[in-house]
């Protein structure tokens, strides 16, 4: 029997789909078109150039610098945020609800502040002579580096700042996930003689895996898009030490007005992120049954 389509349901979904199409699908399509065009911003013209933008990019040494820096940043930030927020959530879990609420607010608040403001504050924190960090290190007898002025440290400085300012959401999600694990499992684990470490690895971690997967994907995507902190704190320097992929997109588009190359780089970035997310999803996703 032929089923009748209920157009009313589609009608309800249509406005959301329209907004999604305008806000996401159209820019992505336009991006793909621009990536195979040579654009002249001044005259407002664009013509087909095949894969010239991609080949030009691949031959550009700065692309590889930006890719390396982005990967290093991502490898620092994603595990850093996951580990610190998970550790904090795990440590907070035994506390009473009102302390958990306090911790949630305390860790979430820095995330509410604009990255630009946070980055400006951290620039002062990193001041080699008069900043809070090096002053504290000096008090401990350690001679701190010239964080943002030293190519060996500049990226690490941005990684550290990013970890400490992005703990809020992962902490809340981890805490909620940990609180959601049924108490019986912990009791059973205790009866079986498992210690805290074993309980965490055998009970907590597998049961919060969906949260871990979600955060891993979201944080990875976010880390590949790092821009504001770099723009405010180092402008990609010193000597390209913090030159990341999205910062390169910005430079190509708004410094050189080469929207073709900027779009080509964005397409590469988008494809890389899609593949990475897919790989993470396949690797980590599995049904969790309580």
């Amino acid at each position: 029997m032929k089923s009748r389509i209920d157009w009313t349901a589609y009608g309800f979904v249509a406005p959301a789909l329209l907004i999604l199409a305008l806000a996401h699908a159209y820019p992505i399509l336009k991006l793909c078109v621009l990536s195979v065009q040579e654009t002249d911003v001044l005259r407002g013209t664009a013509h087909w150039c095949g894969l010239a933008n991609f080949s030009g990019l691949l031959a550009d040494e700065h692309l590889w610098t930006s890719v390396r820096n982005t990967l290093v940043y991502s490898l620092g930030v994603v595990p850093g945020i996951l580990l610190v927020s998970l550790a904090l959530a795990f440590a907070c879990q035994p506390f009473a609800a009102r302390w958990q609420r306090f911790m949630r607010a305390a860790l979430y608040l820095p995330g509410v502040v604009s990255v630009v403001v946070t980055a400006m504050v951290w620039t002062r924190v990193y001041d080699p002579q008069f900043g809070l960090l090096n002053r504290t290190l000096a008090w401990l007898g350690v001679n701190g580096p010239t964080w943002l002025g030293d190519p060996r440290w500049a990226l690490s400085a941005i990684v550290i700042m990013s970890i400490f300012t992005a703990l809020g959401t992962p902490f809340i999600l981890f805490l909620t996930a940990i609180n959601g694990v049924p108490k019986e499992y912990y009791e059973a684990s205790e009866i079986d003689g498992a210690g805290p470490g074993r309980t965490f690895l055998a009970v907590t971690l597998p049961l919060i895996r969906p949260t871990l997967l979600y955060l891993l994907i979201i944080l990875t995507i976010g880390s590949f898009q790092v821009f504001s902190a770099v723009y405010v704190m180092t402008e990609g320097g010193p000597n390209y030490a913090t030159f990341t992929a999205v910062y390169m997109v910005y430079e190509e588009a708004f410094r050189y007005f080469d929207f073709g190359r900027a779009s080509a780089l964005s397409v590469i970035l988008m494809a890389a992120l899609a593949l990475l997310a897919l790989a993470q999803f396949r690797w980590l996703s599995s049904e969790v049954e309580y």
Binding site: V41, L42, G44, T123, Y126, D127, P128, Q129, F130, A138, T146, W147, L148, G149, D150, P151, A154, T234, E235, G237, P238, N239, Y240, A253, F254, R255, Y256, F257, D258, F259
Partner: protein, 450 residues
């Protein structure tokens, strides 16, 4: 039911479309979009000090009304421009204002190079050419064309904490007004100003503040220029890789070496970071624009810094047989590319008026006039700065337009960051910079070698 939904939606779309479209005037006047800045007309600078000041925006409205009265065919629509990135986006999206303020150090010459800005030569009168300092006009030159109406110029100078020099017993070594001094004396003063004030075994006051982040290349180039180094030479083209540059770079490295007289980490500092350290009396001397003294006054007035006596001096020279040379940071007004000649003329009328002596009379009487006809200010520091402005030089100007994909300011910033933050041999850094310049900057460039 359907009509109830569709009609309001269509009305809404129409309203949005109307509000987003460019407004047109109902009269026949040519409407000029002018991006103003909030500081233009700021009472302490622009208004007659003997009269009660009015808010800057009100002052701006009065000046615009004057333009409209003097040129009945022009109607000016004013918008307040928050800064450089908005202009960049406006050019990229073909929504650039007709007339706008620019600091010449914010990529404006690249916009000119790309054809986004109208040349002003056919609108400059002989009187203008005779009155505006050649170096000031030169800052906005590309090839044989000029692109900017100069509004003010600040020569790069050495800002000195005179009170600190007195405390350390070296005030006698400082130059009087625009009298030249050499790098050896400068270094002697810098060493005296580097000390441990709180006795914790670490220096907490430094003689010199160096910074290399955020378009700081003119600062480093000014130090180098006083060693005789230049980027370009009208006869030989690119001459940056020279013994003079190498000597200047060695001097900068000497200042910034660990344990030396400069605050460590120059590559991580911007000009305003260093200005904050200077006015907090953590740094005794820095090279910057004379305009920073105004910033200092604000810091003092708001209680963010304790007041102290500040002196301006020329940039030190490698040897006293060569006069000190400075670089101008010019603020200007520009006109974006216009398709219609009548509109272009109207926009130029507005730009000329904004930068004219009649509007800037009070501003220039106290501060940074780009014109010879303005008498020197009474304040000794500003007089020093104006004297240096008169003998400044645009040593960053390429003799021909370079490949637009080669961003010389950015490359220079990165070069100096490399000098400050690594131990790459100076000769190697210079050779690599030259090789990249020749490979990238001159791609498709006509008229080179000169």
């Amino acid at each position: 039911m359907k009509r109830q939904f569709v009609v309001p939606t269509l009305v809404g779309f129409c309203l949005v479309a109307i509000s987003c479209s460019r407004t047109t005037t109902d009269d026949s006047r040519t409407e000029i979009l002018f991006w103003s800045r909030p500081w233009w007309g700021d009472p302490p600078q622009y208004q007659d000090p003997s009269q009660p000041g009015i808010p800057a925006l009100e002052w701006q409205a009065q000046r615009i009304a004057e333009v409209e009265r003097a040129h009945p065919h022009i109607k000016v629509r004013r918008e307040i421009d928050p800064g450089a990135d908005k202009l960049r986006l406006a050019f990229a999206s073909h929504t650039a204002p007709d007339v706008f303020f620019v600091g010449v150090d914010n990529e404006v010459m690249r916009f000119a190079e790309m054809g986004f800005i109208e040349p002003i030569d056919s609108f400059l009168t002989d009187a203008d050419r005779a009155d505006i300092w050649p170096s000031t006009l030169d800052i906005g030159r590309l090839g044989i064309r000029h692109y900017l109406w100069p509004l003010y110029n600040h020569a790069l100078v050495i800002l000195i904490n005179e009170a600190l020099c007195e405390e350390r017993g070296v005030v006698g070594l400082l130059p009087k007004e625009d009298q030249d001094w050499d790098v050896a004396t400068f270094l002697k003063v810098a060493r005296a100003l580097t000390f441990d004030r709180d006795g914790d075994g670490r220096n907490d006051v430094y003689g010199v503040g160096l910074y290399a982040l955020g378009e700081a290349y003119p600062v480093q180039m000014t130090y180098l220029a006083n060693f005789g180094a230049r980027l370009f030479d009208e006869e030989r083209g690119f001459v940056f890789h020279s013994p003079q540059t190498a000597e200047g770079l060695r001097f900068l490295r000497q200042l910034s070496a660990p344990g030396s007289v400069a605050v460590p980490g120059a590559s991580g500092y911007r000009v305003m970071d260093m200005a904050d350290l200077f006015f907090a009396q953590r740094v005794g001397m820095m090279l910057g624009t004379a305009g920073l003294t105004e910033y200092g006054k604000t810091q003092f007035q708001t209680g963010r810094a304790k007041p102290f006596r500040c002196r301006l001096a020329p940039v030190p020279v490698a040897s006293l047989d060569r006069p000190s040379v400075s670089y101008l940071t010019v603020g200007a007004v520009a006109v974006s590319r216009q398709a219609d000649p009548a509109r272009c003329a109207a926009a130029m009328e507005l730009a000329r008026y904004l930068t004219s002596p009649e509007v800037n009379r009070w501003f220039w009487s106290k501060w940074a006039s780009p014109r010879r006809s303005t008498p020197l200010p009474a304040d000794p520091n500003l007089r020093t700065m104006m004297k240096l402005a008169a003998r400044s030089e645009n040593f960053l100007l390429p003799p021909v337009a370079l490949d637009p994909r080669y961003d010389l300011p950015r490359q220079l910033d990165l070069f100096f960051q490399r000098i400050f933050s690594s131990d790459v041999p100076i000769e190697t850094a210079l050779a690599e910079f030259e090789a990249k310049f020749r490979e990238r900057a001159l791609r498709g460039v006509e008229g080179w070698p000169l």
